[in-house]
């Protein structure tokens, strides 16, 4: 006898096929299994350790905004969860379809709609993988300058919904600074657009409601992004500072002076020793653009570095780092940082907080102390993504030696709890670009304080049936 639930599922399947065609709807078990997780620790642990989570019922691949809208309307009728899925390379579990339902893979929405060379902007659908868009632009002599380490595996939808930051963000900004306008399908299926203009004072900027929304407030279907002519040169320089404090002082002065480095990466003493075999604090900086301006900025940088006690290591270490900047994430025989929790009971994550210069120094010291109290914990950090007012700390936190799966997961959350307590006490934010996902959802109330109620009421208004990626961003569980 067919149960009610499986009858409902069959009806939903046929509703989806009517919208998308059978070739764009899958209920194949092997295919659905491929969407159970993402690249986060939890996303990897779930499929590997047989934790009981619901496998998605259907994967759908819309190609147009209208199809997205129709699918969301149907999902509301069926009160079925919908989780947007782009590259699935988020590291906080934002794309994990915790309650099953429909996974909406946006990657067939991969059209570049316009490259406007006069006004330096590209309009595209959001399913493009980052590198694919970059190549299309490179072919015409442009770049959109958003190059996160996940540019090969993540896509525009994920970058926008995850508020991502590329390696060149100090100069070009995070994805939010690159977006002029967007098209979004709201949870009820209504389609809205924001104006793709350089700036506007006509009320609040709605782009910012959806950037960082992690699929909870709708599906971003199109975006207009700023592009840049390919830089003529990119020059690197590295320095070794006596300690982290003097490196911070140099960064602070570089930013104050109005210089605009593309990349600026400072390693703490642990990372300097581990990666660069140096005692002190290692810094790599690069400038890109036309030669005279790049050279001028480098000269100023060298003066500042010298005044802070930095010794000049020349261009080579930075050039080498640039060439190998993707290497660390490929699997290794010696163990892959991303295999955490998969073949072992090891736990790892980056707790990418951000704050003022004053915050960063204190946070580095205190988060380190707090974490090292946990058994089996190690800690190593670098700092990148800088602003005139501060920057981001990227501690790679690994925990080994848990005796069971439960203990492994407990340690994972204990590690984050310990860090977030310090981050909030010192006035920072708990994530600069990796987002909230499943990892940090429990801390959202604390992060937002009173204003979380505002965010929650926006969610209730836009998504009355709580179909969009339920349980994420600290919103209601299902």
């Amino acid at each position: 006898m067919t149960s009610n639930r499986s009858l409902q599922k069959s009806i939903l399947y046929n509703d989806l096929v009517a919208i998308l065609g059978a070739e764009n709807v899958s209920r194949d078990e092997v295919e659905c299994q491929a969407y159970v997780g993402d690249v986060s620790f939890l996303g990897m642990v779930i499929p590997r350790h047989n934790f009981e989570v619901e496998r998605p019922d259907f994967i759908v691949w819309p190609e147009t905004t209208e199809q997205v809208s129709e699918v969301l309307k149907v999902a509301n009728i069926h009160k079925t969860p919908v989780t947007p899925y782009c590259g699935g390379a988020g590291v906080q579990g934002a794309a994990v379809p915790l309650f099953g339902g429909i996974v909406m893979d946006v990657k067939k929405m991969d059209k570049v709609l316009e490259i406007d060379e006069t006004n330096l902007k590209v309009t595209c659908q959001t399913g493009l993988i980052g590198q694919t868009l970059e190549w299309i632009l490179n072919e015409k002599g442009y770049t959109y300058a958003h190059i996160p380490q996940s540019t090969y595996c993540s896509g525009i939808g994920g970058f926008l919904a995850g508020h991502s930051a590329g390696v060149l963000s100090t100069k070009y900004g995070k994805i939010a600074s690159m977006v002029l306008g967007m098209e979004v399908v709201l949870p009820t299926g209504r389609v809205i657009r924001t104006r793709a203009v350089p700036q506007s004072a006509a009320g609040p900027n709605l782009n910012h409601l959806f950037i960082g929304s992690e699929g909870t407030l709708g599906v971003i279907t199109e975006a207009t992004l700023v592009i840049h002519p390919m830089p003529e040169v990119r020059h690197f320089r590295s320095f070794l500072f006596p300690n982290l404090h003097s490196a911070f002082e140099a960064v602070r002065k570089i930013m104050r002076r109005g210089l605009l480095p593309g990349t600026l990466r400072v390693s703490d003493e642990e990372e300097s020793k581990e990666f660069y075999k140096q005692d002190g604090s290692f810094m790599t900086i690069s400038y890109d653009g036309f030669e005279e301006l790049v050279d001028l900025q480098l000269r100023e940088t060298m003066k500042i570095a010298e005044a802070e006690g930095g010794s000049d290591l020349g261009p080579e270490p930075g050039e080498r780092w640039w060439k190998r900047r993707f290497s660390s994430v490929y699997p290794k025989d010696s163990g892959n940082p991303l295999e955490m929790g998969r073949h072992t009971l090891n736990v790892g994550n980056v707790i990418d907080s951000a704050g003022s210069f004053t915050y960063l120094e204190a946070a580095h010291r205190e988060i380190r102390q707090a974490l090292l109290r946990i058994p089996g914990q190690s800690f190593m950090a670098h700092f990148s993504h800088w602003y005139k007012t501060g920057g981001m700390m990227y501690p790679y936190c690994v925990n080994t030696g848990a005796a069971s799966e439960e203990e492994m997961i407990d340690r994972y959350f204990r590690m984050h709890r310990a860090a977030v307590e310090v981050i909030h006490r010192l006035g920072g934010t708990m994530t600069h670009h990796h987002g909230v996902g499943l990892t940090l959802r429990g801390f959202m109330q604390e992060e937002f304080g009173e204003s979380f109620e505002t965010l929650r009421s926006i969610k209730h208004t836009l998504d009355p049936n709580n179909i969009m990626n339920p349980g994420k961003l600290g919103f209601d569980w299902r």
């Binding site: 899958s26 092997v30 595996c153 993707f326 290497s327 892959n336 991303l338 998969r342």
Partner: protein, 376 residues
């Protein structure tokens, strides 16, 4: 399980955040997370841990990998996910779980000597007159292969015309070429593959040739690289060349004279087996540069980064719809450089691109050897 031999590849790949997904031939068509090198390796790895495949996993091993080597080209760990697929296919054959298309290829090669199931007697139908006058032994053996003879016989006709024009002492395996066996290897029938390999090498020996020239990169790769790894050795002192390499010799030594200017804009597609696998990138381009009246521009993705025509890995038999979609990428790139001729050097690629270009007035697909013959 055969998969045990590639356990390391599958285990490591399973932990990757899909750093090559953006170049994967099949993923770029279906955009499914299941159709990524990483997920295919994960499926294989789960089967290995379990000790057997589930029936629903078999299609992912057979229908979703073009063994094009693009993952390998992008993988800093140097993992060829295609190798994992080939091992998985051996296990599926051994478990009696190979799809009907695979079994049909095995049967066709057994009974007719080609994967397409065309009559063995038709193998040389398009070059019957030429074959009759070829000697039994010669310095140079031209090995055409099944895809050329049954699907793109103009390639064989052009090759023979060029050999004649250059005055090369050449022949073919007159009794009928055996299939090189690659379709059997791709489908997981390793013993049959080895038997094919031995037959090919016997045929080569009998012609006494010192040079074997192939127009099909896959046949060449089998003879030059792959047979030996399965324990089948080539007769001593024989060199194996792709037609582009041999043409370059003929052109550089002045043995080929051209009378006709082609006056065409061209671009060249690197076939996966010729490019990424055998690393023969420049000879075809050098041949084009020596032809009169060729205006040439590379496509955006070329050489090691060249996209796949879609028909690798036996997909033309197991998933033709996917091949048709995949082939559009290269045709689109050829259009972007305003080429009038999309040149390739592989009969399988030609068949793939022809499905798109036969209906176009301003873009045609041709094999390198056809252009050379045209300029004579």
């Amino acid at each position: 399980m055969e998969l045990q031999k590639v356990e390391r590849l599958a285990r490591l790949c399973e932990t990757c955040p899909k750093m090559c997904r953006h170049v994967c031939t099949t993923h770029n068509v279906t955009r499914s997370e299941a159709d990524t090198p990483n997920e295919r390796c994960s499926i294989a790895y789960r089967a290995l841990l379990r000790g057997y495949f589930l029936p629903e996993e078999a299609p992912y091993m057979y229908q979703k990998c073009a063994t094009c080597g693009l993952c390998l080209a992008w993988c800093e760990t140097e993992i060829d996910a295609g190798e994992v697929m080939l091992a998985a296919r051996v296990d599926l054959v051994n478990a009696g779980m190979a799809p009907v298309e695979a079994a049909a290829i095995q049967k066709n090669i057994q009974s007719e000597g080609n994967p397409h199931g065309e009559p063995a007697s038709d193998r040389y139908a398009a070059i019957a007159n030429e074959i009759r006058v070829l000697p039994d032994t010669a310095e140079v053996l031209y090995y055409a292969g099944c895809d050329t003879l049954y699907r793109q016989p103009e390639i064989a006709q052009a090759a023979l015309k060029v050999f004649r024009a250059a005055g090369v002492d050449h022949t073919m395996i007159k009794a009928g070429e055996p299939c090189c066996g690659e379709p059997l290897r791709l489908m997981g029938y390793i013993e049959d593959f080895k038997a094919s390999a031995r037959k090919v090498m016997d045929g080569v020996s009998q012609t006494g040739a010192k040079t074997v020239v192939c127009t099909c990169p896959s046949c060449l790769r089998m003879m030059k690289d792959v047979y030996a790894s399965y324990g089948v050795q080539a007769p001593g002192g024989v060199e194996f060349l792709h037609m582009s390499e041999y043409l370059l010799r003929l052109m550089n030594s002045g043995q080929l004279k051209f009378t006709r200017s082609l006056d065409l804009k061209m671009t060249y597609h690197d076939p996966c087996d010729l490019g990424r696998r055998l690393e023969i990138y420049e000879p075809p381009r050098q041949v084009l540069a020596l032809l009169p009246g060729v205006k040439y521009q590379d496509m955006f993705f070329n050489r090691r980064d060249a996209r796949c025509c879609g028909a690798g890995g036996g997909l033309a038999a197991t998933n033709l719809a996917l091949v048709i979609e995949a082939s559009k990428t290269v045709v689109g790139m050829a259009r972007n450089v305003n080429a009038e001729v999309l040149v390739t050097a592989c009969p399988t690629c030609k068949t793939s691109f022809n499905r798109q270009t036969y209906k176009l007035d301003d873009l045609k697909t041709m094999d390198l050897i056809e252009l050379v013959a045209l300029a004579l």
